[in-house]
Every structure is written in structure tokens, then in C-alpha cells.
Amino acid sequence: MKKVVLLAVFALATAVTYAGGYRVSLQGNKSLAMGHTGVAIVNSESIFFNPAGLSYLEDKLSISVGGFGVFSNVSYQNETTGAFAETDSPVGTPFYAYISYKVNDWFAAGLAVYTPYGSRVEYEDDWAGSHLVNNIELAAIFVQPTVSFKIGDVLSIGGGPIYVNGSVNFNRNLNRTLTDIDGNRSNVTIDATGVTNWGWTAGVMLKPTENLTIGANYRSEIILEAENGDAIFENIPNSPLTPFSNTEIDAALPLPAEMTVGLSYEFCNKWTFAFDFNRQFWDVYESLDIDFADESIPDSQNARNYKNSSTYRFGLQYDATSKFTLRAGYYFDESPVQAGFFAPETPRNDSHGYTAGLTFNVSDRFQIDASFLYLQFDEVDASYDAYFENGQAVPFEGTYKNNAFVPGLGLTYKM
């Protein structure tokens, strides 16, 4: 009988979940205002969107810094049981800082610091899906030294290595029912900070005519391998049947590769149209495996089965006056999450992004960049089917509705 109980408890304890679809496309206020296009646009944010664009910059020095406030909401309900939950997530604050320096006519160099991956979701503790997640905070800072060369007048290339420093803090209940003697739900926090690794980016930009720009950019996959992270167990019953004690963990979280191709076209003097196509290679995220150092705690394997996904971005820019540049855009973002793997820590279905923004030229040197994104999700009935109890899949089902409002503000200095 002991074996049966042990098995039951262990099986319930092994489905640690992680963020998915945790790409946060907010890498510049000018670009976001245009639907987050930029692979074929030359501006102070090119160092991220296409490093090849650096050598086309007209200014000797260009510095852009900025940030966003991400106000995201997730609501969950189950029409069978009446369960309802909504997140109370803190405001996410992705930021960027770009510096580009044009050494000579055909060579430019720069440094970029930005946060393209992250997730902050906080549900009320012990909500209906608390066996999958109570809260998660995922953050990664990218540092990217960059060089760019112009090859003739129509072609440029650029790229550089990327250094990543990431952290994750994740809490969920061990299963749907385990508590200590006073009914407090048993839970585990996985915490890993200072997880580092390297990747790279490379781009090419083509200007076949004065008005048309074509660009392509590839960003490599980076696997964040957390070693010696902490697993902290709380409210564990005082029993040899539930031998969960604090230990260390090893786990790997992929930040997938991404390919972008696009074009921009200037027309009627003051107008620019841009189109970007992103392909994100999420299929690397097959499963999240957590290895507990304590051998009495079984390792945790969690199917994710993400699929590659695409984003279609459209942007429009209008140089209204010498003081103001106005921008607007739209994008359609496919979710990498497949049916049956819809986990509540990043409950993302396909979304529509509506963007707008402007640049105000304070002086010849200074610009204020502002943008706004409204991310609209359709209501979706979804389930996560890869959670198991006693070897039996226990789907977590319900209806989700998300939205996000993202205002952003940035400053550009050029000379």
C-alpha cells in the first residue's frame, strides 16, 4: 500500500510547467508604432531589427533608449464548475538601449541591450489551475555588440554575438489536492537567476532602388540551461510518503531562433510602408524537463510540443511636419501553442496587435518616441492535457480571454 500512495503522490508532483510563447516583441517605440516592423527600415532601432541597417544610418552617433509598461490581463472561467479567475499581474517593464556609431562610410558599430523574452503572470494562489501555475516571472537581458558593413551602395550586412543573462521564478501547487495538516496547499517554487548563454544575430539589407528596402535578419536559438537552481517546497505534510525537501534543480529553457524577412517602400515623399514576416522556430520547445538533485524526488518531464509560428506585420509612417512623425501598424501573431497544450502560465492564442505612435523632434539632436499597442485576443476554449495524476491524463479545461495594453516611451539622441 505504501507503494501505491507513494506513486500517487509522486505522479501528482511531476508536472512542473513553464512559460510558453514568452517572446515579448517590444524592442523599440518607433518600430512598435509601425506594428513592430523594422527589418527593412533604417533608424535608431535598426541594431535590433536588422544590424545590417547600421551602416546606412546617416547620423554619426545614434542613441535610443526606451521602455514599455505592459498591462496584461488574463481571465479564466469554467462553465461547468463555475470556477473563475483573473490575473493580477504586476506591470511588465521591457526596455531597450541602443547605441550605434558610424565609424566611416562603410563601417558602423554599436551595442544593444534589450529584453525580448519575459513573462509575468500572477493568479490568485490556489486558483482552479494552481496545480499548473500560481505565478511566474521570467526575464532575460540580451547584450549584443554589433558591427555592420556596407558593400557597395545597395547591400549591407551586419551582425554580432549575443550574451544572455536570464532568470526565472515560478510557483505552483504540487498537485490538485495535497495539503499540510492545516489544509495549506503544498507548493514548489523554482528559482534560478544568473543563467547565461551566448547566441548571435546576422542580417542583410538591400536597397535596389532609392525607395525600396529589403531586409532579412536571423537570430539564433539560445538555450538557457539553469544549473543549481533552487527548488523550494512549502506546506509539505510531515510524512515519509511526501519526501519533498528543498533541493537544487537543473532545467533548460529554449529561447527559439527567429527569421525575419521584409521590405519597406517610401512613397509620395512623406510616406513609408513596411511589411515584416517573422518565423519563430518554437518547435525546439518539445518538453520541459526538470531534474531534481534530490533523488527521492522524481524528475519532471512536461510535454510542450510547441510548433513553429509566424507573425505578419504591417506598418505605415508619415512624416507630417519637421517636428512630428506619425506611425500606425497592425500585426497578426500566431500562437506556438498547439491544441491540448494550452497552459495557463502563458495562455496565448492567436492575437491581433493594433499599434500607433509618433516621434516628436524636440531639437535636431533629441527625439521623443512614443507608442501604444493594444493586443487583442479572441476568447478561446482550451485545455492543457499533459498533466497526469496516477498515470492518467487530467486535462485542465476552460475558457480564456486575454488582452494587453502597452504604452511605451523612448528618447533618441543623434549627432
Binding site: 505504501k2 498591462f71 472561467q77 461547468t80 506591470v91 490538485r176 489536492t177 510531515n238 510518503l241 480571454k401
Partner: protein, 511 residues
């Protein structure tokens, strides 16, 4: 200008932060779930330990929070019912009761692992903090009183603190009774129910059953004040007090739900310990049989020949062990007591031997051995005497076996109670939960849910707590769903059911 900008920015931030993701049809909207013709604004539950949320042989906070009335009330709240459901919560999760500082009820069971690594029920150690004389003031929505029989709910003084010490009152009612002379029914109706549930009558047979039929079947005795704790309540007494309760609770047109009485054979207390539980090898069996040879071949036929016992009884009292797993010997108080006869001629047995054989027989497939016999069977009655094995040389006491005759007494009473309950449900248009059939399903094929199958298997089945009688929170959640189904059907309501997989079962803890 600067300030204006600041305020606009602030207002924008507040506006964004309050933009929740709204569903087209939120479950939180009034009217998504409906109460139909039932008025759920003040639900009052009356009953016994099952209604209180009693489990693991004790009443404790987390058990109360998962009582079926509390689960129902939480679902009622989604359908326009009251958000509050007051329960007389205990002071801790130990269970156990103090009367003027002295412990009068044992702490709860938990699943503990012993020194040899074997898990089993153990009483959780600790000094309970729930003091009976510290009377809580109501009204309470949960009027489930552990231990109450049907007639207790209308007995004045059942909540008297003085009566607890004297054994005439119930400590669980005494700690919440509105006065020394209050009745449970009086306090329940004073709570002003708009809707009620009533599940009572289980203890009217259960005390008899769990004590192996050591009490008296009082059928025919219409005065419950003369009953002992382990007696079966007369069905007419039951019908009388039950209809009095229903009448009081429906007064003013209240809706409600009635539960009938499950079969005791559906609960692990009676199904866990097998009848055949004594393993013997051939030489030992032969040795034991030789000890009973005289009883089998001389005493029993002799008594039958004298007409003291019938030939059937003589046959039923034969003791015969064989190699393998055997039925234990036992004392059956429905057998003719031959103790005195055996001490006289022609048997002339000594008093000890005669007493041993007085109402002796070997258990058979028709008997139910109770859970508490597990700690007695096969052990030594006298630790100094290796031959005094309980069930082999020393008969299992009557309290450990519910015989076929006793089961029939229980079944007859339960059938009569259930006829009363169903009749009153129909007559008053009340919702009705056939708990008897549902528990049979649990004990039979089990109830499939999203994480497995709920069965009545002791410890691992999920439905029953460690006392083998009372449900786990998951078992109570299943009960709540049954009631919600019945209410939805009867009152055209759409109250949502819970997912029983979200509710815990037994609690593991070591002292």
C-alpha cells in the same frame, strides 16, 4: 501644465490597469447559473456527522470546510445564493474535544508510517483546543451534529452542557446550542432557512452495526428515551420525528433536499477485514481441531439431542479449521447461551471452558467483520500465553462481527426509514438523493472522475476517510454533486457541480 500631464498619465495608467479581459458571457454574471424555483438566500443544513463534515473519527476545521453543505453553499453562491454559510468551526485541525479541560473525544486519524515503513491510520497527537463549554453563538447554517440520531434532533436538552457530562447530551450540540433546553430542529428553524437539507437516520442503525449488533433492535419500542446508544431506532419513532422535522423545515414554503440512508455494507468499516483471516498450517489446524473435537462431536449433538438447541444450531456451531486461511471463532449473542448447562451434568465443564463455549461458533461467509477487529484478530488475548490467539483459541467478541441476523435487522430498519424519507420527499415536492443506491455504486463499479475512479476501498479508494465510515472531502464533494443534481432536477435550477478531483482524500502525517 506639468501637473496636468502628470494627472493625465496617472489616469491613463489607472484606466489601463483596470481594463480586465471580459468574457462575452461571464460565469460571474447574474443569471449565468440559476436557482430556478429554489430560494437559496439562506440555506440551512441539518443532520448528523455527515452533514457536519466529520471525517477520520473527528470533527476538524479542514473537514468542516469540505462538508457537503459548505461545498453546496459555495456552488449556490454562483447561482444567486448567499455568499455566506456559517459553520460552527472547531478550534483546530486535531479534532478532539475538551469538556472543562478534560479530553472527551479522540483526535483525528491520519495516515502515518510506522517504524517498519508501513503506513496505516494513527491518531494524530496533540492537545485539542476545542472546549465544549466555550459555547459559540449562532445562528449557524450548518446544523450537522455528529452522533445525532433522528429523535435527538427534537430532544430538548440534547445541547445541555451539564447533560454532556451526564451522558444525556451531545458535546457537538452543546457547544453551539442556543440554550440548555434547545433542540437542534429549533435552532435550525430559528436560523430562518429559505432552503434546507436533511440527512438524518444513519446513526439510528449505524451504532448498532458498528458495534457488531451488540445493542438492541428496539423495533416495537416507541419510547426512544429508553434506547441505548447502540440500539436500532423503531421505524415508527423514526417516521414520527422525521416527518416532524420535514414539516418544520418546509414551513413557509421552503424548498429542500432529503437524503436517504445508505446500506452499511457499502462502507469500508464492514468490508475491509475479510471474514477468513486466520492463516494456519495443517499441523496447527489439526491441533486446534483436536481441542474442539469434544465440542463438535459430543457437546453439540448432545445438546441437540436434549432439545436445548436445534439441529440447525448444532450444525452452525461446528468448529473446523483447515490448512489455509480460516474463519475465526466468535461469540454470537443470537445463539443459545449454554454456559450454565455445560457446567452441569453430563458435561460438567469448568466455568472458564463453559463460558468460552457458551455462545461459540465459527464465523462464516454471511458475517461482516468490522474494521476495528483488524487490531485484535490473530493477536494474543493473554500476552503471556502463546496459545491464546484471538479468533483461534479465544473467540472474537460479539462487538467485532455483524452477523447475518444482525444485518437483517439493520436492513429492515433502513428499508423502513428510507420508505418514510422518500414518501415525505414526494409528498412535499422536495429534491431527493438516493444515497443508498449511490453508495452501492461507489462500492460496486466505483465512480469515474477526471483523475481516476472513486471507490470504497479503505485508504486508497478515495471515498472514505480513515475511520472507514465517514467520507473524505472528495467523497463529500460527490455527495454535494448528487444533491445539486437532485435540486437542479426538482427546482429547474442550473447550479454548477464541482469537480470531485479537486478535493483531497486522506491526509498523510506522522506524529
Amino acid at each position: 501644465m506639468k501637473n496636468t500631464f502628470k494627472y493625465i498619465a496617472l489616469a491613463a495608467v489607472v484606466a489601463l490597469a483596470s481594463c480586465e479581459a471580459e468574457f462575452d458571457n461571464p460565469v460571474t454574471d447574474e443569471g449565468f447559473f440559476t436557482s430556478g424555483d429554489a430560494n437559496l438566500t439562506n440555506y440551512v443544513a441539518m443532520g448528523n456527522s455527515l452533514t457536519a463534515g466529520f471525517a477520520d473519527s473527528a470533527l476538524y476545521i479542514t473537514g468542516q470546510e469540505d462538508s457537503y453543505p459548505n461545498i453546496m453553499a459555495q456552488q449556490f453562491a454562483l447561482a444567486g445564493g448567499s455568499e455566506s454559510f456559517s459553520q460552527p468551526l472547531m478550534a483546530d485541525n486535531l479534532g478532539g474535544l475538551l469538556l472543562s479541560g478534560n479530553q472527551i473525544a479522540q483526535n483525528r486519524f491520519v495516515l502515518a508510517v510506522d517504524a517498519n515503513g508501513n503506513p496505516g491510520p494513527a491518531v494524530l497527537e496533540g492537545m485539542p483546543t476545542t472546549e465544549v463549554t466555550n459555547v459559540l453563538s449562532g445562528p449557524f447554517n450548518n446544523m450537522g451534529i455528529p452522533g445525532a440520531k433522528s429523535f435527538h434532533l427534537v430532544t430538548p436538552g440534547y445541547g445541555s452542557i451539564a447533560g454532556v457530562a451526564a451522558g444525556t447530551a451531545n458535546p457537538y450540540f452543546a457547544r453551539i446550542a442556543s440554550s440548555e433546553s434547545a433542540t437542534v430542529l429549533g435552532d435550525a428553524t430559528a436560523a430562518g432557512p429559505s432552503f434546507f437539507s436533511l440527512w438524518i437516520g444513519n446513526n439510528d442503525i449505524l451504532g448498532y452495526a458498528t458495534s457488531g449488533g451488540s445493542g438492541v433492535d428496539q423495533t416495537g419500542n416507541l419510547d426512544p428515551s429508553t434506547y441505548g446508544g447502540s440500539d436500532i431506532t423503531d421505524p415508527n419513532v423514526f417516521a414520527s420525528v422525521y416527518s416532524q422535522q420535514v414539516e418544520a423545515l418546509v414551513a413557509g414554503g421552503n424548498g429542500g433536499v432529503l437524503f436517504n440512508i445508505p446500506d452499511v455494507t457499502s462502507i469500508p468499516f464492514f468490508t475491509t477485514v475479510p471474514g477468513q483471516s486466520i492463516p494456519l498450517d495443517a499441523p496447527t489446524a489439526e491441533l486446534v481441531n483436536s481441542n474442539f473435537a469434544l465440542y463438535n462431536t459430543a457437546v453439540l449433538p448432545g445438546l441437540a439431542g436434549l432439545g436445548v438447541i436445534s439441529a440447525e444450531e448444532a450444525a452452525a456451531r461446528q468448529v473446523n479449521f483447515s490448512a489455509g486461511v480460516n474463519f475465526p471463532i466468535m461469540t454470537d449473542d443470537d445463539l443459545t447461551d449454554i454456559t450454565l448447562i455445560l457446567q452441569g451434568p453430563p458435561f460438567n465443564l469448568d466455568a472458564a471452558t463453559a463460558g468460552l463455549l457458551g455462545q461459540l461458533r465459527q464465523a462464516n461467509a454471511g458475517d461482516l467483520v468490522v474494521l476495528t477487529a483488524a487490531s485484535v484478530l490473530g493477536t494474543l488475548a493473554d500476552p503471556a500465553n502463546p496459545l491464546s490467539i484471538n479468533g483461534v483459541a479465544v473467540p472474537l467478541a460479539d462487538q467485532f462481527v455483524l452477523t447475518a441476523t444482525e444485518q437483517a435487522n439493520v436492513a429492515a430498519a433502513a428499508a423502513s426509514y428510507n420508505a418514510t424519507i422518500q414518501g415525505l420527499a414526494t409528498a412535499n415536492g422536495l429534491a431527493f438523493v438516493d444515497a443508498r443506491s449511490e453508495l452501492e455504486r461507489v462500492a460496486g463499479s466505483g465512480i469515474a472522475y477526471d483523475g481516476g475512479v472513486l471507490t470504497d476501498t479503505f485508504v486508497t479508494g478515495g471515498a472514505f476517510s480513515l475511520d472507514g465510515v465517514h467520507p473524505t472531502p472528495r467523497g463529500y464533494a460527490y455527495v454535494a454533486n448528487l444533491a445539486i443534481q437532485a435540486i437542479n432536477n426538482t427546482y429547474n435550477a442550473t447550479i454548477p457541480q464541482v469537480n470531485i478531483g479537486d478535493y483531497p482524500t486522506i491526509t498523510a502525517a506522522n506524529n
